[in-house]
């Protein structure tokens, strides 16, 4: 039965099979709010990935010393520290990006993805796999944001990374730069990925009998 299957690679797991945006649907606030350009999406994704790697690593390192009753508060303090570091880092690297992301960098501390990974993975696993998991989840999140940002920037402004694609006469679809555009493009991508998954499952059921166990979430 399933006892012989190896546990999924923590890095690839976050990047694809448990992708935070398209499979777990976590961290929707930044996903919908700041994906109106590819640059913002990539910056936000990388910032979140950075926070995830640091917080997952630290939490895994002290996981045996934290009393169960105060663990959430401890995680939040660690995550807040990582977010503060990221906040200053982004400000040091690029002021325009910092201004475009605005309050959403400090708000990474409230991103449910970060706390979920701390609670579900880093609190139970050693340091290196936890950091791998953080990197995978973070890059998976960045990938999701970039997908949304691409649709929204290409249709909403006719550009990709500020490079014009359709010439000067392009009629921008204003809707895609506005909040509803975030929901619409998220729906489009969810549809695409759900179709992929369903097709793959059908192939699995038709051909293989081996069943991969999904990661158990607490």
């Amino acid at each position: 039965m399933s006892t012989t299957t190896t546990p999924p690679n923590p890095f690839l797991n976050g990047l694809w099979r448990q992708n935070p945006t398209f499979v777990q649907i976590l961290g929707m606030c930044p996903t919908l709010a700041i994906t109106n350009s590819v640059r913002n999406a990539i910056a936000m994704g990388l910032a979140t990935a950075f926070v995830l790697v640091i917080s997952n690593g630290l939490i895994a390192a002290i996981r045996k010393h934290v009393p169960k009753q105060v663990r959430i508060a401890t995680y939040i303090a660690i995550i807040a520290t990582a977010v503060t570091v990221t906040d200053y880092l982004v400000k040091a690297i690029s002021i325009p990006v910092y201004k475009a992301l605005g309050p959403f960098i400090p708000l990474i501390v409230a991103n449910c993805l970060v706390l979920e990974r701390a609670e579900a993975f880093a609190a139970k696993k050693p340091v290196i796999p936890s950091m791998m998991d953080g990197a995978g989840m973070g890059l998976g999140f960045a990938f999701g944001l970039t997908c949304l940002g691409t649709v929204r920037e290409v249709l909403g402004a006719g550009t990709f990374l500020s490079i014009p694609l359709f010439g000067p006469n392009f009629e921008p679809w204003v809707l895609f730069l506005l909040p509803p555009g975030g929901f619409i493009s998220l729906a489009i991508w969810l549809l695409v990925f759900a179709t992929f998954r369903e097709r793959k499952q059908r192939q699995l059921q038709a051909g293989l009998t081996e069943i991969q166990p999904a990661e158990v979430r607490s």
């Binding site: 009629e171 204003v174 809707l175 506005l178």
Partner: protein, 352 residues
């Protein structure tokens, strides 16, 4: 024929139903009722309106056919509902609307507006209005660019914006308008003139079709006639349009009494914009409206009042579309509040 006459007398118990109305028969008659509006629109705006209406109708029917087939289901275009959606969408767009945008609107109306919910009978919102709402949010300039009626060469040439290349900006048409206009047309509808420039337009000429506007919303008398035909054939409930129009008139009268200089009179409100078209053909969508008579009254009055609130207090010049979409969203709730009471039974809990 022989001289024998046979009389068949059928003896049956009640209910004496005969000639049941089927869905596609009702839908077909709604299409018939909209054809005079389409014809009037083509007469007023010429070739551009003709290709616009053809594009939206064909776009909706094709989208429905292809998507049904792609899902492995039988095509449902034969029930005429996609044709209604397409025709309605075309009637709510400005006559010179770029065709590629109109096609996109048809796709949005059918795919997320209707088939995503499960097709005819399951859609929460009126599909044509979903398409139009998408277009208004995506292309706010193009959808408020109106062209003059009865331009001289309207059967010989298109409005320059009609054949805009896909994904491209429509060309500016101010010069073209100043060439073709018959009178002092400025490219704005009476509602826009009233709201932003405080220029009042006389209501009665508007009722007889003398104003600018979307391709199908102009002839007030014709819309009422076509609606009366459907009511007469029992294919439309008269309560919804009557409730919506009276709600709008009452609300407009209230505003007018408060400040006559700022808020126009109810008659003006009644005959401008898409209120008559919306109340007659869109609010009455049998799928997205309540089913009980009392529910219909609440729903209609609510939409009428909302229309006037948006027009008088909101940032948009026209509020019919948003009012109807809001009404559609509320109609399941209204249905829950107004369940029919069986004879002799107590009033259900929570009902009004």
């Amino acid at each position: 024929m022989s001289g024998v006459t046979t009389t068949i007398i059928e003896v049956r118990t009640s209910p004496h139903l005969h000639g049941p109305l089927s869905v596609d028969m009702i839908m077909r008659n709604v299409v018939y009722a909209m054809l005079p509006l389409a014809a009037f629109s083509v007469w007023q705006f010429g070739l551009s309106a003709l290709v616009l209406l053809a594009t939206t109708t064909a776009g909706c029917v094709l989208a429905e056919h292809i998507l049904c087939r792609a899902n492995g289901n039988a095509s449902t275009v034969n029930d005429y509902s996609a044709a209604i959606t397409g025709l309605l969408l075309g009637l709510t767009l400005p006559p010179g609307f770029p065709l590629w945008m109109a096609l996109l609107g048809s796709l949005v109306a059918i795919a997320p507006g209707k088939l995503l919910f499960g097709g005819l009978g399951s859609n929460v919102f009126n599909p044509a209005l979903v398409g139009r709402a998408f277009l208004q949010a995506a292309f706010p300039v193009a959808i408020t660019t109106y062209t003059p009626t009865l331009a001289k060469a309207r059967f010989a040439e298109f409005v320059p914006t009609t054949w805009t290349m896909p994904l491209m900006k429509p060309p500016p048409i101010a010069d073209w308008i100043s060439q073709v206009r018959v009178d002092g047309f400025t490219g704005a509808t009476p509602l826009v003139l009233q709201k932003f420039d405080h220029i009042y337009t006389d209501p009665w000429p508007m009722f007889w079709g003398q104003r600018a506007g979307s391709s199908g919303e102009i002839p007030g008398f014709l819309i009422l006639l076509c609606g009366a035909y459907l009511v007469f054939r029992h294919m439309m409930d008269w309560r919804i349009p009557v409730a919506m129009l009276s709600g709008a008139v009452a609300a407009a009268a209230g505003f007018h009494l408060l400040d006559p200089a700022r808020y126009p009179d109810p008659l003006f409100m009644l005959f401008t914009g898409g209120l008559l078209l919306g109340a007659t053909f869109m609010a009455t969508d049998p799928v997205a409206s309540p089913v009980t008579p009392r529910g219909m009254w609440i729903y209609g009055v609510l939409m009428g009042v909302l229309t006037i609130l948006i027009r008088n207090l909101g940032g948009l010049a026209e509020g019919v579309m948003c009012a109807i979409l809001l009404g559609n969203a509320l109609s399941p709730l209204i249905d829950r509040l107004t369940p029919p009471r069986p004879y002799g039974a107590r009033k259900p809990e929570g009902a009004i």
